[in-house]
Amino acid sequence: MSTLDNDLARPQGAEPAADPVERSLLGFLRTRTKSEWTADQDLFASGAVSSLFYLELLQFVEQEFQVTVEGDDITLDNFRTVHAMAALVRRLRAGASGEPGPRP
């Protein structure tokens, strides 16, 4: 799909996701839910996120962006929107501490 098609396919009013992390998250959500999402749409309010899917999202974020999400970073707010997840990824990448984290 070309960039142009992507733009046309985006729901009305949605800003183009310039951030590659956001693009990748939106792509994952689109593949898994077979519907379009915007970066500021509340995933939990939508009722679309089951507990297994939350785990899937967590695993995707860790695997795709090579970060470890743990302890106090595991909150609903950090996963509520694509914006929030991207911000979490940026913060974790900036502050990688070298402390051995959980796998996977």
Partner: protein, 374 residues
């Protein structure tokens, strides 16, 4: 991971259990020093890394170890499931400080249980009544848990409860004031796994005992722990099937009726074929789910449900076939196939019953095909 540490861990388990699993089943307990030694050698939570004194196995290798335990003694294997589930919960939700404080204890001789079930909250976790409450520098825990695996041996319990509008996990020492552990007298299976009811009567602990993720929806906290638990149970069931297949083929070769070995009777041969298939199918599902775990694949949660569902049902069928073939030779408490028969049935109940697994798998199928509602 090389074969070395897994082979050594397998040998350590074989040595610890020896030929005593029958006796432990009949007595309803494993000697305390055996359990502590298993913990001290890192066998109860073998995925915990060397930085915390653990063996650092990946999920596939820990699975092989778990299956080996399941083939020897499902009670000890149950303790591996709980300890591993608790360790994983601490790794997943604990702070760096909590991991450093707790994980070395779980590879250093201590035992931990995971307290989920309650009188009114079995499959329906939303009915959970245990309350965890922040009170200044303390947390207070009040409630009652049932069927907590390993609690009768435990130094520590990972207790799930409600927390504000969501849920939390708190680490409760079993010797804290207000904690009472009451061993279940007569579990039908995994009789030596130390199942117990736990009473938490306004237990007060330092707030540092509360793991991260506090306030998350209960289902989301629980699913992470259960994913480890389901995979561990699934591998344990693959081990039960291995033990049943071995006992059944041995017996069928030796036992002569109507002038020939049982193995040459076609109806018995069919049991052997079905057991072979059951063992292989269970193992393949476990291997795939563990590969997903080790890759960090988003499929992991669903694949562990599938593996647990398949393996526990195959174990129930396979153990019943084994008892059928061994007949009077196996129909005695303590005998490996009699244990397998009772133990396997419990595996269809814990960590998400067969029916709950079916609902989760159906939900997944719908989400894959329709897109609406995950």
């Amino acid at each position: 991971m090389t074969a070395g540490p897994v082979a050594a861990a397998r040998a350590a388990l074989t040595e610890l259990v020896g030929d005593r699993a029958d006796e432990w089943d009949r007595l309803g307990r494993i000697p305390g020093p055996v359990v502590r030694e298993a913990s001290r050698r890192g066998l109860l939570c073998a995925q915990v890394g060397p930085e915390y004194g653990g063996l650092g196995l990946d999920s596939g290798d820990n699975g092989e170890l778990t299956a080996h335990a399941g083939s020897l003694c499902s009670s000890l294997r149950s303790l591996m499931t709980s300890q591993g589930m608790a360790a994983w919960t601490v790794q997943r939700f604990g702070s760096a400080e909590q991991r450093r404080a707790v994980l070395p204890r779980l590879t250093g001789g201590e035992v931990v249980g995971v307290a989920f079930s309650e009188p009114e909250a079995g499959s329906d976790l939303s009915r959970m009544g245990t309350e965890i409450r922040r009170d200044g520098d303390e947390v207070r825990v009040r409630g009652a848990k049932i069927w907590t695996t390993g609690a009768a041996y435990a130094d520590l319990l990972a207790v799930f409860g409600t927390y504000g509008g969501g849920a939390a996990v708190v680490l409760v020492p079993t010797d804290a004031p207000g904690v009472r552990v009451e061993r279940l007298a007569d579990p039908m299976g995994c009789r030596a796994a130390g199942h117990a009811d736990v009473h938490l009567d306004d237990v007060r602990l330092p707030a540092g005992r509360l793991l991260g993720g506090a306030g998350m929806p209960l289902a989301m906290l629980a699913t992470s722990a259960l994913t480890y638990g389901r995979l561990s149970v699934a591998w344990g069931c693959a081990g039960i099937l291995r033990a049943c297949l071995d006992a059944t083929t041995r017996h069928a070769r030796q036992r002569v009726q109507f002038g020939k070995p049982l193995a040459e009777h076609q109806l018995i041969a069919r049991h052997l074929a079905e057991l072979t298939v059951g063992e292989q199918v269970a193992r393949r599902c476990c291997e795939f789910a563990s590969a997903c775990w080790d890759e960090g694949s988003p499929q992991t949660g669903t694949q562990t449900v599938l593996a647990k569902y398949v393996a526990s049902r195959e174990a129930v069928k396979g153990a019943a076939a084994a008892v059928q073939v061994l007949a009077s030779r196996g129909a005695r408490d303590g005998h490996p196939v009699a244990r397998a028969y009772r133990d396997a049935k419990l595996m269809e109940i814990i960590e998400g019953s067969t029916e709950i697994s079916q609902l989760l798998l159906a939900e997944h199928a719908l989400s894959e095909s329709m897109g609406a509602g995950l």
